[in-house]
Symmetry: C2
Subunit: 328 residues, 2 copies
């Protein structure tokens, strides 16, 4: 169906080799005349080289994969944008795989990306250690974004922020603001561990006790915030809420406003991530900003530098920022 290199060669009366050389800029020994003729034919026929055939031969596809847990959580598209922008600049395409936070889908995504022979993979939210080792053995460069992975396994890169410290400061901010009963609402994934320990540490260092009934964990979405705070308020009073991400905070704000509870006067709220419209919430959300776009961009840069120039993959820590706005 599509035009092939062979056809271009036949029409212009040269060999496939010549066409290939022209396309790939190995045209040192190609006359200007043939070059023009071939290039003209290519645009005229709308010829686009078959990336599969090329990939098969040169074993480089100029594609990188990005595995994310939930594309409807705006934090991840922001990372994706960072990745895409960087990738596009280097002539790489990005294949995005959504896993819905299911380990099985994560595994399938890897299989799929391997099959597609992507040159590298960026992924967020780690599998359990066991599965990860298997994946890292594949030899394909991998950069993990969004959390520190504790594994001896080397040979993969990391872009992360200290989420434990982030949540710790978030909690401290609430403590300093005078909150007495501070709830914690978040998700329950593997990646949650760091966050929760930040909360626990902050509480303990302030001499507070962590009360199980003030903790609710489900998923990183709005519903969790909404359900969580309602559940907690059934049996408890709170005057501060540490949220595992901004979506949860939105749910909390919604539930509180339905109950006529004033924010931040009666209850103070800290989010996490800083989705780009969190600042536009009413009241604007106080949160810990993860530099999502930057994380994506740096991950892509590290990965592509490794693919193209064998620069080693590294561990790179980016800083979070505290954004105090209207909810604390």
């Amino acid at each position: 169906m599509a035009v092939t290199m062979k056809e271009i060669a036949e029409i212009t009366g040269v060999s496939k080799a010549t066409v290939s050389k022209i396309i790939n800029g190995r045209d040192r020994y190609i006359s200007e005349e043939t070059r023009k003729k071939v290039l003209g034919c290519i645009t005229q026929m709308g010829y686009v080289p078959n990336a599969m055939a090329r990939g098969l031969k040169v074993k480089k596809t100029r594609m990188i994969g990005f595995i994310l847990p939930d594309i409807s959580n705006p934090f991840f598209p922001e990372i994706a944008k960072g990745i895409e922008d960087k990738a596009k600049k280097e002539g790489f395409g990005v294949v995005i795989c959504n896993t819905d936070d299911r380990a099985e889908a994560e595994y399938q995504s890897f299989q799929f990306l391997f099959a597609q022979q992507v040159d590298g993979i960026i992924f967020t939210r780690a599998l359990r250690r066991a599965n990860m080792d298997k994946v890292f053995e594949s030899g394909i460069p991998i950069v993990v974004v969004d959390r520190e992975v504790n594994t001896k396994q080397l040979g993969f890169g990391q872009i992360f922020i200290d989420t434990r410290q982030g949540i710790k400061e978030s909690t401290n901010l609430l403590i300093q603001a005078g909150c007495e009963k501070i709830a914690y609402i978040s998700a329950q994934y593997h990646s949650e561990y760091d966050r929760y320990s930040g909360y626990v540490e902050a509480m303990q260092e302030a001499g507070r006790q962590v009360q199980a009934e003030l903790v609710y964990k489900n998923q990183y979405n709005v519903d969790t915030g909404y359900e969580g705070i309602n559940k907690i308020l059934e049996t408890n009073k709170v005057d501060g809420v540490v949220c595992g991400n901004d979506l949860i905070a939105i749910g909390v704000i919604r539930a509180l406003s339905e109950r006529g509870i004033k924010i931040p006067d009666q209850v103070k709220i800290m989010g996490f991530d800083d989705m780009y419209f969190s600042q536009y919430m009413v009241p604007p959300l106080s949160t810990i900003k993860q530099p999502a776009y930057e994380m994506g961009a740096q991950a892509a840069e590290m990965l592509i530098d490794n693919i193209l120039y064998q620069k080693p993959l590294a561990k790179k820590k980016l800083n979070f920022t505290i954004c105090m706005r209207g909810t604390v």
Copy 2:
């Protein structure tokens, strides 16, 4: 680097053909013994068939492309999710290309997807007619999502809602709610035309005049809403705002709340799209809901049915829903 079919064949002492047949289920004339042996070797070696080699030979890649204008607008990830879910069910992968609403990037995305030999493409936000024709000539099945494309060109599918009617009803709702001075804030893309005419029609049918100084168009994002309403309020008073999408509405709400203007008492606001957390805004946003997930799912279904069973691509109109919440 990666294990190949040839290696599997050598290890198990059969031919490549046999391995291939087993993988693809053409194992009618394969003994249970060999089948087990080969399958065992495959899992043990972690063999994943090279999708490029297969794609090159069978001219089917089981990949579809999705071109979207702005991945950080939550409306599109929602569509993407609908596409992905459907696609995954049928064993298709999805390549997402973000264009930042730049026509050039849109064109490049098509080129890229052609090169990748995707089996079909779903895209939102149309190029100008001229460029589209070129693309449709490629022979690859295409489904356009999100707006009606007026072109004689056949052979591509459409999933759309009547955005003109949607905005018209949105405007009428404001008129019925007693608004006298109704502003319109939206984007200025090609795809905007329908929306704006909905506003104009509603105004005219109600005997109102469209005042240019109450109209602001820039982009479908929060900033546009924020800037737009502030600009308008410099010289005018308004008591109703029709927004081109929910992000714009969020920006408007923010700006108004900064000015201490009460919503909906002093100004009423209608959004458009219904992003999944719009209902959680404070006050919850009244909006016209586009069934984003459903649009994605149906687009993918139509496309895959065409790819797999040559079912013709059709024009399909989905219905919007009016969601009256707290801003009108």
